[in-house]
Subunit: 301 residues, 4 copies
Amino acid sequence: MRLKGVIPPVCTPLTPDGEVDATSLVRLVDHLLGGGVDGLFVLGSTSEVAYLTDAQRRVVLDTVTGHVGGQVPVLAGVIDMTTPRVLEHVRVAVEAGVSGVVATAPFYTRTHPDEIRRHFRTVAARGGLPVYAYDLPVSVHTKLGADLLLGLAAEGALAGVKDSSGDDGGLRAVILGREAPFSVLTGSEVTVDSALWMGADGVVPGLGNVDPEGYAELYRCAVRGDWEAARAQQERLVRLFEIVRVGGTRMGGSSSGLGAFKAALHLRGVIDCSITALPQIPLNDDEVGRIGKLLAAAGLL
Amino acid sequence: MRLKGVIPPVCTPLTPDGEVDATSLVRLVDHLLGGGVDGLFVLGSTSEVAYLTDAQRRVVLDTVTGHVGGQVPVLAGVIDMTTPRVLEHVRVAVEAGVSGVVATAPFYTRTHPDEIRRHFRTVAARGGLPVYAYDLPVSVHTKLGADLLLGLAAEGALAGVKDSSGDDGGLRAVILGREAPFSVLTGSEVTVDSALWMGADGVVPGLGNVDPEGYAELYRCAVRGDWEAARAQQERLVRLFEIVRVGGTRMGGSSSGLGAFKAALHLRGVIDCSITALPQIPLNDDEVGRIGKLLAAAGLL
Amino acid sequence: MRLKGVIPPVCTPLTPDGEVDATSLVRLVDHLLGGGVDGLFVLGSTSEVAYLTDAQRRVVLDTVTGHVGGQVPVLAGVIDMTTPRVLEHVRVAVEAGVSGVVATAPFYTRTHPDEIRRHFRTVAARGGLPVYAYDLPVSVHTKLGADLLLGLAAEGALAGVKDSSGDDGGLRAVILGREAPFSVLTGSEVTVDSALWMGADGVVPGLGNVDPEGYAELYRCAVRGDWEAARAQQERLVRLFEIVRVGGTRMGGSSSGLGAFKAALHLRGVIDCSITALPQIPLNDDEVGRIGKLLAAAGLL
Amino acid sequence: MRLKGVIPPVCTPLTPDGEVDATSLVRLVDHLLGGGVDGLFVLGSTSEVAYLTDAQRRVVLDTVTGHVGGQVPVLAGVIDMTTPRVLEHVRVAVEAGVSGVVATAPFYTRTHPDEIRRHFRTVAARGGLPVYAYDLPVSVHTKLGADLLLGLAAEGALAGVKDSSGDDGGLRAVILGREAPFSVLTGSEVTVDSALWMGADGVVPGLGNVDPEGYAELYRCAVRGDWEAARAQQERLVRLFEIVRVGGTRMGGSSSGLGAFKAALHLRGVIDCSITALPQIPLNDDEVGRIGKLLAAAGLL
């Protein structure tokens, strides 16, 4: 069965001292489920997985799988540098009862395509549950080509791909080249209607934390073939997505994007504290104010 | 007191099933100390730190600090994506009794220079022992500029730098701009004489696993001002360094380099097994044979 | 008036000794016009502009503008490293009577965004005809952001953009942020239906040399709102686009792509000789044979 | 005969309206020859070759070769995107009577190593005079590896290399692997003593425009084996090289570096006007003042 629909990467609310705020996390999960999403992706880049300790990752996994109780599929990111470290995260995720894991190509190391293949094959063989490739060149500095993905799909090592490369031509090559049941999910917030139009199965939008109803509505419009309405919804979300640029050049792109999602969730009353993990620079009051205005303009405040 | 001399990044011998081979590791440590090195750097890139699980990293730390018993300084790599994860590794390293830690800038995330500063400051403040910056753009995709390093040195957040950027102009800017006791160590295997000539304090050569005597001799020549002899030694080591290219284009640069060091250590009888961690592609018999010839040409077999 | 429709970048047929084959070029222009295109873009990357001498560029300009005689707009690439050199090409293009020029950001040099702005402003001010920005990070190593483009559009320095960045999220930001009459053209061969769906005005497809009818039909379907038919046409063209990968890894991407277009034009009887300029590696007989099969599968032989 | 010594890349003085100031150029050539340099490299990156029109390039060639009259070798950059365009520049340079040409790998295009080889072979075969490879990854986005350079040297296609890659390990591999008479010249301003120590034949320092005596003295010290004096001279020049950073982040690196050299030449009375070509941002009065202070500190005002 092919995974599909809206599967947001779930933000990880933190307490002021930097620990996982499980109460806020449960509230966020309810906010997302109430918004009509079809699954949850925990421990992705938007979840600040790169900043969470292993103990914190485990708290997130247990909190979310425990609360969701099988209502929707829960995918878990197993983000680490190489195969042995990824396998450790897979083991923990399996124990927590997730539906599948999401793994990148190795990073930090200099890795050959044949080694990337070996990596995914090993994760699939030892993990014992569906593996989704996470294509994120901005972080991993490798682009997963259509040939590599389709080859691994054909041999059963991959159940799907979350494509956050921004390369919709490559996305389409995978869609047209695949054989069922390989699931193609776009990680873009701003080309979801067109990805679905091309045949993508779903979307994993960080902005879906802030406006799950928007993405759920977009997806429903697409499924019933009302593409005009899907586009109108998408264009509204493109404007909302401007919140990630409020931080500007005085901080890194991770701080600006993740900080905006958390500030918006705080303004909407979903999480208690908008803090992001070290060493990210926090948004200031003026910047949060501008995020509030963009939320209001989108009808979310 | 400024750290100086030859401080090789210690390879991590593995058993055929991929676990740390502590017996071989102890033998390697003795081989290095017997070769006249001035310190040890465990859990660096050459140690396959990116491939070792946290449990394996701890075995390495305990094995080496336990065996060395304070004869020479032991530095530990605390390689991970961001501050909170790095702090976990620092805590373990402190428990193991190391002399200092070696940390990169954040990777995987998109990080601003001010965030890199915040990262090193936090690691230094919470770690409570000397922090050395690890400048490795090929892995981290950020170059640590002289201004950033010298600023952090001036405020006491950094005790030194291991420069594996290959940018000896940048290295020199740090050397000429620093104020004691900031230690500048080159990570290059092939420009050690010139780095010492410029005023570097020492060297962290991966190839030093294979030929510690060579680098120790090079360093002694430089200290006593016999630069002609230092250069001759260096040129011999440049030729030996060809072993890292034997793997060619059928594997990644990490596999080719780390595989060559381990194959050489196995051929020299130091470690029991030359296996590298997943997903690296192993060298084949022909390639190991060519490494053997290069070792013989260098007088090491 | 906003430029729109199908505006293929016209290949430059060469004689066996590497000179411009004006006879074949005229035949190619007729093939394109007969195929229903709305304009022509000469001296783009697909035209091998980077390989043509200034004298050859002038032959192309004069041949095409002379033959077209104002039936459709002719745009000319003015591809060079910096402003003064670009201005020379603009002068020649103006003399030849083109409708507009297409310029990249400076390359080879290390250029600040404010300098990129100054570059486009100067080209616009001195050229005296519409300037289209050419966003091609794979060649220029700079991505033209939506803010930069929209700012230059607002002040009248740019008449449009040819976006060959592959970043359709960025394309959409320009579309939604622009004010008429700024023309947005995608340079993608494989996401044309979705770009038009988002509101793009047209397309500049290299593959349009080979199958102008296909892109013209795709565009007409989109204009009349028959998106299903547009998608079907696009998917056929995606499969045809496989010809650019036939060259594989034994040559550069430029050779593989440009060689495939020319081989296909030769097989279709449009140009006399499929040679590409130095130092490109030519496709061999086997590769040309595979291109023939892909053409046949697309109904073009 | 192997080219050697100090061969500065000659700045191109411009008049306020952006034309070549031949009078100032002659004065600059005299300043360099009087400073004791061993050759001249015109139309390099430091000469703003990327900004000069073909007509301006020709003025530079004729002015310098005419004035030098064979006293020292004159090399000419033939900087352009691909082989046919480079060959045009070679033809003009040969007519002007230069001693050799300096060519990069192709840029703008996506080029395979075998195509880079074909490029240099063609330039050498058709040019009929010595060809020096220009290794400048920051502009060309390709690194010329030691294997490629040494292979082309062995077959006689290359007479030498100007290495501006900053990778002194790679420089050393070429030095140790070469067979006479392949000339290795470093393009670094700040590691000249160490490059000569490794066996390099000479240096092509942009900063040599400002202080030719300094580099000439450094070279003489090295030749006579007085390495301590060479290092002291080099360290003085490292401090002077700070002038290239005065422009900071409000302009591109090209503007900052080339602007500093020209401002210094103007302050020293060598050239009439410090203007740089479009679209470079000029240094302001404050920045020029800081350059003046650095010149004074180096004993040059």
